[in-house]
Structure formats: structure tokens, C-alpha cells
């Protein structure tokens, strides 16, 4: 699998992404500067976490207009897989690759902790190595992860299998009305942590699978995502 990681001014998890991709595929991904206008031929484009342009406007709003994003959108239209993590999710959502918006966390604070997620759909190269309904642990580290969209869209996302991950308690509950243990860290609508586009070729999620891929991390729950991508795209 050949991959490209896009670097914006203010990206800060590109090294984590590179390490996870390289460990899974054995190949170093291309680092592509945001001002470039062309992408090498790749099977996966990863838009990493960070604070692109300081997130001084809406998170991801500036980066969505970087020169490279035109090319990212063109490739996504051709079916090249795109993975947006954290700020990357915000950027590709701002760029129109995914519906909805990421707002300030409900408690208005940045939050870094390990959360439980339920894998909602395994019919994608991103999630094929998980079991449907499997509970996994990924870390989150964000201030603007509160997913919102209109009622009609959320119904469609749910009905069409476009919800990839939901925040759940460690027992696996996803009822957003019951949240005594703070397991939905940001107040996301319908406990949504990650969504696909309609063709399930684009995934955006707030939690960080790339920081849970080794014994060193004390957590390997993110590894199947990268292994699945390598298996599907090699």
C-alpha cells in the first residue's frame, strides 16, 4: 500500500500517522506539503491531527482551502481512500468530503483520555478487520470534536451505514441520553465518533487509532485499522 500524509502548517500528529502506516505496510508514506498541487500515485491519503493554521478560524476551515485539498478532493472522487483523523476529520468535513460539522466540546475544554468506541460498520477497508459491534479503546485529544448535523442527515448516516464508530460506555451502551460516566467526551450528536462518506471510501474520526498500535502504547486496538487498509489496498 502506498500512502500520502498531508502536512499543513500546524499539523502535529503527522509523525504518529507515518509511524503507524510504516509499521503496518513496511513502506514509508509520502509527506506532502499543503502548498503542493500534485499528489503522487497513492492508495490512501491520510489527513493527520494537529492545529492547522492554529485553528484560529473554525477548526480545519483554513486548511480546507489549501492548494493540496483540490487534489485530495479530486482523488477522493476517483475512489482513492481518504482517512481524516481529529483535525484531519475537521479539515475533510470543512472541505465537503463528509457531511456535518465539528463544534467545541460540550464542556468547552480540550480533553485527552482513552475512550471506548463501538465499531458500527465493518464493510470498509478501514474497519474490515474489526467485528461489527466490537468495543475498542482509542485515545482522544481534541477541543472541537462535538459532531453535529441536521436531523435528516443523521437519519441518513444511520440508515445507510455511514456511522463508523460511536462513543460507548465500557459495557457497550450507545444511548446518548445516558451519560453518567462521561463516556461521550465531547457531546457528539447520537454519540458519533466517526463517519464514512456514502461509498465508504472516506473515513473521518476524532479518536486516534494511530496512537494505539503497539505494545509500547499499551494498546493495540488501532492496529486492525491500518492492517485492514494494507490488506485491502496492497
Amino acid at each position: 500500500m502506498k500512502a500520502a500524509v498531508i502536512v499543513f502548517p500546524g499539523s502535529n500528529r503527522e509523525r504518529d500517522a507515518v509511524a503507524a502506516l510504516e509499521a503496518a505496510s513496511g513502506t514509508k508514506p509520502h509527506l506532502v506539503w499543503h502548498r503542493d498541487t500534485e499528489l503522487p500515485k497513492v492508495d490512501l491519503i491520510l489527513v493527520p491531527g494537529g492545529f492547522s493554521y492554529g485553528d484560529y478560524l473554525r477548526s480545519g476551515a483554513m486548511a480546507a482551502h489549501s492548494p493540496i485539498m483540490r487534489e485530495v478532493k479530486a482523488r477522493a472522487d476517483q475512489g482513492v481512500r481518504v482517512l481524516g483523523i481529529c483535525n484531519g476529520f475537521q479539515i475533510i468535513t470543512e472541505a465537503g468530503l463528509l457531511p456535518g460539522a465539528l463544534m467545541r466540546n460540550a464542556k468547552l475544554k480540550f480533553i485527552c483520555r482513552t475512550v471506548h468506541l463501538r465499531v458500527e460498520n465493518t464493510d470498509s477497508p478501514f474497519t474490515a478487520k474489526y467485528r461489527k459491534g466490537q468495543i475498542v479503546r482509542y485515545p482522544v485529544a481534541h477541543g472541537d470534536g462535538n459532531y453535529w448535523t441536521d436531523a435528516e442527515t443523521v437519519k441518513r448516516l444511520d440508515g445507510e451505514g455511514q456511522v463508523a464508530f460511536r462513543y460507548v460506555s465500557d459495557e457497550g451502551s450507545a444511548d446518548p441520553r445516558w451519560n453518567p460516566n462521561d463516556w461521550n467526551p465531547n457531546g457528539s450528536l447520537d454519540s458519533i465518533a466517526g463517519i464514512f462518506n456514502a461509498k465508504r471510501t472516506v473515513l473521518g474520526l476524532m479518536p486516534h487509532p494511530e496512537d494505539a498500535v503497539s505494545a509500547f502504547h499499551g494498546n493495540t486496538d488501532g492496529k486492525p485499522m491500518f492492517d485492514g487498509l494494507v490488506e485491502a489496498l496492497s
Binding site: 502548517p9 500546524g10 502535529n12 492545529f51 492554529g54 480540550f110 483520555r113
Partner: protein, 738 residues
């Protein structure tokens, strides 16, 4: 030389700038004339306590600063130690106390920015941040606001620049009501043969300004940090700088990229006193002169005067001396990162600082005579009187409370309660190299990028000990840092100190400073743990009330493989719990005394440095052999609190034996040099054999078991109950404000 448009200088003005009459007279003597307004401003910051260390230098010189592991000791932007294999670790801790009290969010944020620059200016990529915070009493009306702002400010800056914040400490005490402490530490990694220093060289070489534009923020910040607070301190808000972590992130990447080339002669960040101290220090260290043309400085505001430009503390700026002809190479890099780049002057052979703007000369003064004449004081000091020993009766446990109630009270007191509410606001995981962060181990542990080798980082100080006995308290802070590094298995390398004290012009306060330095020096010597960098923050007083003496110690240790590091959590059922070291049940200045008996008296526990060293070496040896499952040093709250913390962290309880006759001293005494370890039961005998051979007292405390602490009078203290008490206090306290 012309002085057009500059206000007339007088003794009265000099006083307003913080100079004494004697200092003003020295300035007149050195220059042979009255200084210009710009010169007076420059001299006053160069001679401020903050920049000149005039009260502290005499004593700082007595700290040990050398050792085979030291590549660069105090005097540069940060200290540098050898981590083997051509790697160097660069680190420093620095205070941003005064600004954080006045404007907590920006004060703390720019504190993080400043310490990051001190480290990457030497060529290091920052890989870990820590912070040591002291706030006033939780009951004080300002405390909530200050906690909330400081933590959000640190998070704002550290998270955006992408450096994990992996630990720290937070205390509360009424003595900090009017002066909080915000001490931030950064650790970076560089190649030992690619370290950048600040001494300018090469007459005619270009002086280059990079980073953010200069504005009017922070003018005379260094002078503010050199005076006591009074009621009108909040009027000083305009002197607090505003931070931009996004620009800092770009500056890190751009500087590290430039450092890959061979274009740099010398580099320094513009910290306190901005362009003044960076240009004067760089030229001064190189024995050269420097001429600046301020028209070329990138400016954010219109109509700035030379005085304002020289004293601005606008953030995210660096001064670089380039090799001749490398301007284009350097400029291309800063253009790529969309940062300002300007040649603003040249190095000269005159030994003078010359400042020109609008075709006029605003400052023309010799650097060395002014720097060398920076006053040094041997301030009068009084030793702190020894505290009376406690009466024996204090060791009797109160009859009206169960052990569970006592333990619950101690683990939920503000100093001991979980700081999760704070550390969850920090990105502790970015870079994917974090092994242990806050709450998981006695020190934060990260691996070096792309390597298996790791470093451990800790910050320590017990101010209540330092108040009762500064010598012992100073030694204890160093010993605790040594112990926290040893407890995770790391070889202690070196120390950075952040000396926070009251007004040094008072002999009692100066005596605290002198005593703490003496204790620290003794401990650093005995433990081969030299001081390689540091910072002094004096005048932490408001309306004559001083803070507790707080010599905060930051320290770094080395792990040949980060994966061998051990955390505090009990992991298995049936592990043998061992006590390493022994004590007499010392309750003076203990948390038990304060929280249960409502007393803050007695002497702090004595520190036997030979025992610290022996026990630390023993524990590190066991961890290196893979014999230790869980490890935690015994500190605040004593033995039982230590075991409770290990149980809470792992969700595994302990069946303790032999506690039936134990008194409060045994259970809650804060005797030094001790650790609690959990080892697999099958290894317990071998560990005890090794202890015997090493002459280290080791005794069996019990075994890990169930979900409660048991073993005394049939009382089972559940982990759930302790955890609830431990976790509830801070979020509950902060929620009351929201």
C-alpha cells in the same frame, strides 16, 4: 549623539525603572554621561533581578554543575546532558509566576512558549513538557479562576505546538493566595555534535530577526518580575505578553530545518527583555559589539519608539547570527513557514551596543562594562530556626475515626486528590512516544523519536518542608526527584532548578534561599546529580506576605529501553508487596498531621543521602533485571497512602500483614528513602536475597489481593471508596465555579 524625541533622564525616572540610586550612579560613571532614555531602559532591564540574578548569583555558584554526563551546564539557554549513542538531552524549567497571577491564561501560555524556545534554540526537538503549579487556598475567592486560566493556558499552548505534557505537580496553600507559581519545564533531544550556542562570532556577520512581529506587549516584564506585588498589581496587565502557539510551532519547525544546514553561527530566543537581552548577551558572550538598525525590525504596530522596540517582550521571536552569505538559504526556509525574516544589524569590533533608527543614534554604550557592572549583592540572611520535635502522643491513632476514614480524608485533600481534571486538558500522547504520563508512574516516561531508548522526567518540591527547614527541604526536593526517577527504573542524570522565593531584601527570606541552596548542593553532590540549568523567581510577595520557599526541582533520567520502565499500578493478584528502606515513623510536617490533626508543625523528615543513593541503586537494579511489577516511592501521606495509590491505579487491592500494632507514625510517617514494590510471588525470595547482599532493608508488607485494602482489625477499605474520594475533589471544586 542625538537624543531628539527622547524624554529627559533623571534619578527619579531611574527609580521608576527599578534602579536604586547607587545603580543609577554606576550607570553615570560607566557612560561618563547621563544615559539616554533608551539606554536607561536597557540598563534597567539588564540590571533587574530577573536578568542579572543580583541577589542569588553568589549562592547559585555553590551548586555542583559538572559531571561526566554534563555537556553544558548553567549559563546557556538550557542545560545539556549526554544520553549516549551521540544523543543529547536538553532541558530547563522556568517560572512565569507574576504574569500568570495577573492574566492566568496568557501568563501560563507564554510561560510554556518561553521554555520551549529556550530548548529548541539549542537545536533540540522538544519531546516532553511538565509543569509545577502552586495555588492559594481553595477557599480563596481567586483560586478557582486562577486554576482554570492557568491550566487552559498551558493546554492551549502545549497542545497546539504538539509537545506532550506528561506530568507535573499541583499544590494548594494559603501562602500562595497573592502569588501563584507557574513553573514550566521542557525536555528536548538533539544530536550531541549539533548543539547551538548563543555566543556571537565573526565581525561583520549579519544579525537576523525571525518569527513574530514586534508589538508593544510585555514592555518591562522583567522589571515587573523583580518587584513585590501590591493591590494595584492588576493594573500591570498590559505588561503581560500574548502567546501564539501556532507561530511557535512554525518557528520550531523552521529553526530545526535551518539547523540542518550549516548557516548558523549563534542563536538565542528573545525572552525576558526581548531584543535587549538577546543582542547584549550574544554580543557580550562573543566579546564583540553589535549594531542594530531598528527600522528593519518587523513591527506589528505603528510609531514604535526605539525604547519600545528594544524592551518589547513580544513572543515567538529569535535572534540569529548567520554565516556571511547564508541569508538567502535561511530566508527561503522562513518564507516556506510564512514567518518574518529580517537582517536587522551586524556584529562589530567596537564592543558597543549601537542602536539606530530614523537615521539617528539612540543608544551607544559599551556592553562589557555595563554587563560586568551588573550589581551583585551579598544580602544579609538569617538561618531559619529549627522547629521543635513533636511529642510522642502524636503517634497514637485517633479513637474516633476508622483507618478507612483517615485514608479517605488524606487521599481527597486538595494536595493529594487526583489531578485528572488538570491533566486530561493536556495532550499527553502526541508524537506516539509516551510510555507513562501523570498518575501512571512516579515520573513521566517518553522514548526518543525513532528509538527504544527512553527518558524519565519529574518535578518535585515539598514547600511545607522547606518552610520548616530550608536546608532539609532543599535536600529533600532533590532526593525526591532522584527517587521518582529511580522508581520507574531510570538512571538520574541531572537537575534543573526553579527557585521561587519571597523578597530577598528581607534577611529571613534570604535565609530560606541560602538554606535551600545548601541542602540542594549537598544532595546533588551526594547523588551525582548536577544542576545544569535553572531560573530564579524572587519577590513572590504581596503586601509583605511571602510564599512558602519553593525550590522546585525538575530532573531527567535515562532508560536504556523505555519498555522496562515500571508504573505504580498493582497489576496482578498475588504479587508480593515489599517495603524497601526503613523509617522511624516521622510525622513532623506530614500530610497526616495537617489533614487529620490540623497541625503544621515539627521538623520535616531527615534525608540520609547515602541511604537514598543505596536504595535508589537497588531499586533501579531490580527494575533493570525485570523483577519489579509495580513501583512507587513513599512520599506525601506515607506508607498507607502509597499502597492506596498503587491499588487505585491498578484496580487491584492489597492484603497487608503485620499492621495490627502499627501506629500513625508507621502508617503515615513520611520518612525518606523508601519505596513500595510489587514483585511476582515466585521472585520475592530472590529479591530479598539481593537486598540482604546489598545491605538494603526490605520487608514484606503483604500481597496484592481483591478489590480492597485489608489487614487491620478486619476493616476492608474498598478501592472504589478511596477512588471516589480521590477523584471527586478537584472536578467538584472546579464545577462550583461553572
Amino acid at each position: 549623539m542625538t537624543t531628539a524625541q527622547q524624554p529627559e533622564v533623571s534619578l527619579e525616572m531611574a527609580r521608576e525603572f527599578g534602579l536604586s540610586e547607587g545603580e543609577y550612579n554606576s550607570a553615570l560613571e560607566i557612560l561618563g554621561r547621563k544615559p539616554t532614555y533608551t539606554e536607561l531602559g536597557i540598563i534597567s532591564v539588564m540590571w533587574s533581578e530577573h536578568c542579572s540574578y543580583k541577589s542569588s548569583k553568589k549562592w547559585l555558584m555553590t551548586l555542583p554543575t559538572t559531571g561526566p554526563q554534563v555537556i553544558c551546564g548553567p549559563g546557556e539557554n538550557a542545560g545539556v546532558v549526554d544520553a549516549g549513542d551521540g544523543d543529547a538531552i536538553i532541558f530547563k524549567m522556568e517560572s512565569h509566576n507574576h504574569p500568570s497571577y495577573i492574566e492566568p491564561f496568557q501568563g501560563a501560555a507564554t510561560g510554556v512558549g518561553g521554555i520551549l524556545r529556550d530548548v529548541f534554540t539549542m537545536g533540540a526537538r522538544p519531546i516532553a513538557n511538565m509543569n509545577a503549579l502552586r495555588f492559594g487556598s481553595p477557599e480563596h475567592p481567586k483560586t478557582r479562576h486562577l486554576v482554570s486560566g492557568v491550566v487552559a493556558g498551558i493546554a492551549h499552548y502545549g497542545n497546539c505546538v504538539g509537545v506532550p505534557t506528561i506530568g507535573g505537580e499541583t499544590n494548594f496553600h494559603p501562602a500562595y493566595n497573592g502569588n501563584i507559581l507557574v513553573n514550566a519545564m521542557t525536555v528536548g533531544v538533539a544530536k550531541a555534535d549539533r548543539i547551538f550556542y548563543s555566543a556571537a562570532a565573526g565581525i561583520g556577520n549579519p544579525v537576523v530577526y525571525v518569527g513574530s512581529k514586534t508589538g508593544r506587549d510585555g514592555i518591562h516584564g522583567a522589571t515587573m518580575a523583580s518587584a513585590e506585588f501590591s493591590e494595584d498589581s492588576e493594573e500591570k496587565r498590559p505588561t503581560v505578553q500574548v502567546g501564539d502557539p501556532f507561530t511557535e510551532k512554525l518557528l520550531i519547525e523552521a529553526c530545526l530545518e535551518l539547523m540542518e544546514t550549516d548557516a548558523i553561527v549563534a542563536i538565542q530566543d528573545m525572552g525576558a527583555a526581548g531584543l535587549t537581552s538577546s543582542s547584549v548577551e550574544m554580543a557580550g558572550k562573543g566579546g564583540l559589539g553589535i549594531e542594530l538598525v531598528l527600522d528593519d525590525v518587523p513591527m506589528r504596530e505603528e510609531g514604535m519608539t526605539p525604547y519600545e522596540i528594544m524592551l518589547s517582550e513580544s513572543q515567538e521571536r529569535m535572534l540569529i547570527i548567520l554565516k556571511p552569505g547564508r541569508e538567502e538559504v535561511a530566508k527561503a526556509i522562513f518564507d516556506k513557514w510564512e514567518l518574518d525574516f529580517a537582517v536587522i544589524g551586524t556584529l562589530t569590533d567596537t564592543g558597543k551596543l549601537v542602536i539606530k533608527m530614523h537615521g539617528q543614534t539612540w543608544c551607544d554604550m559599551p556592553i562589557a562594562p555595563v554587563s560586568n557592572a551588573s550589581p551583585l549583592y551579598d544580602r544579609p540572611w538569617e538561618p531559619t530556626p529549627a522547629a521543635a520535635e513533636l511529642e510522642d502522643a502524636v503517634r497514637v491513632l485517633p479513637a474516633d475515626r476508622t483507618l478507612g476514614e483517615i485514608l479517605e480524608k488524606i487521599v481527597s485533600c486538595p494536595d493529594q486528590a487526583s489531578k485528572r481534571w488538570i491533566w486530561e486538558q493536556y495532550d499527553s500522547l502526541v508524537n506516539g512516544d509516551t510510555r507513562y504520563m501523570s498518575g501512571q508512574a512516579d515520573a513521566g516516561v517518553v522514548r526518543l523519536p525513532g528509538q527504544t531508548k527512553g527518558i524519565a522526567v519529574t518535578t518535585d518540591c515539598t514547600p511545607r518542608y522547606c518552610l520548616a527547614d530550608p536546608v532539609r527541604g532543599g535536600a529533600q526536593a532533590v532526593a525526591e526527584a532522584y527517587r521518582n526517577l529511580s522508581a520507574v527504573g531510570a538512571l538520574p542524570l541531572a537537575v534543573t532548578d526553579n527557585m521561587n522565593f519571597g523578597n530577598p531584601e528581607k534577611p529571613r527570606i534570604m535565609g530560606q534561599f541560602v538554606g535551600a541552596i545548601q541542602g540542594m548542593a549537598d544532595a546533588c553532590r551526594a547523588l551525582d546529580f548536577p544542576v545544569v540549568s535553572g531560573n530564579v523567581s524572587l519577590y513572590n510577595e504581596t503586601n509583605g506576605e511571602a510564599i512558602l520557599p519553593t525550590p522546585a526541582i525538575g530532573a531527567v533520567g535515562l532508560l536504556p529501553d523505555a519498555l522496562i520502565a515500571v508504573g505504580i499500578a498493582f497489576r496482578n493478584e498475588g504479587d508480593t508487596i515489599l517495603l524497601v528502606g526503613e523509617g522511624t515513623g516521622h510525622l513532623g510536617q506530614s500530610l497526616y498531621l495537617r489533614e487529620i490533626l490540623g497541625r503544621e508543625d515539627g521538623p520535616p523528615p531527615p534525608v540520609d543521602l547515602a541511604v537514598e543513593r543505596r536504595n535508589g541503586e537497588f531499586v533501579r537494579g531490580l527494575i533493570a533485571e525485570g523483577l519489579v511489577v509495580s513501583s512507587h516511592d513513599i512520599q506525601d501521606g506515607g506508607l498507607l497512602v502509597t499502597v492506596a495509590e498503587m491499588a487505585m491505579a491498578g484496580g487491584v487491592g492489597a492484603a497487608l500483614t503485620g499492621l495490627d500494632g502499627a501506629d500513625a507514625g508507621v502508617l503515615f510517617g513520611e520518612d525518606q528513602g523508601r519505596y513500595v514494590l510489587a514483585v511476582r510471588a515466585e521472585n520475592a525470595a530472590a529479591v530479598q536475597e539481593k537486598a540482604k547482599a546489598a545491605g538494603v532493608p526490605v520487608s514484606v508488607l503483604g500481597k496484592t489481593n481483591g478489590t480492597a485494602l485489608t489487614g487491620r482489625g478486619g476493616e476492608a477499605i474498598t478501592i472504589a471508596r478511596l477512588k471516589k474520594a480521590n477523584e471527586a475533589w478537584l472536578p467538584g471544586y472546579m464545577a462550583a465555579a461553572e
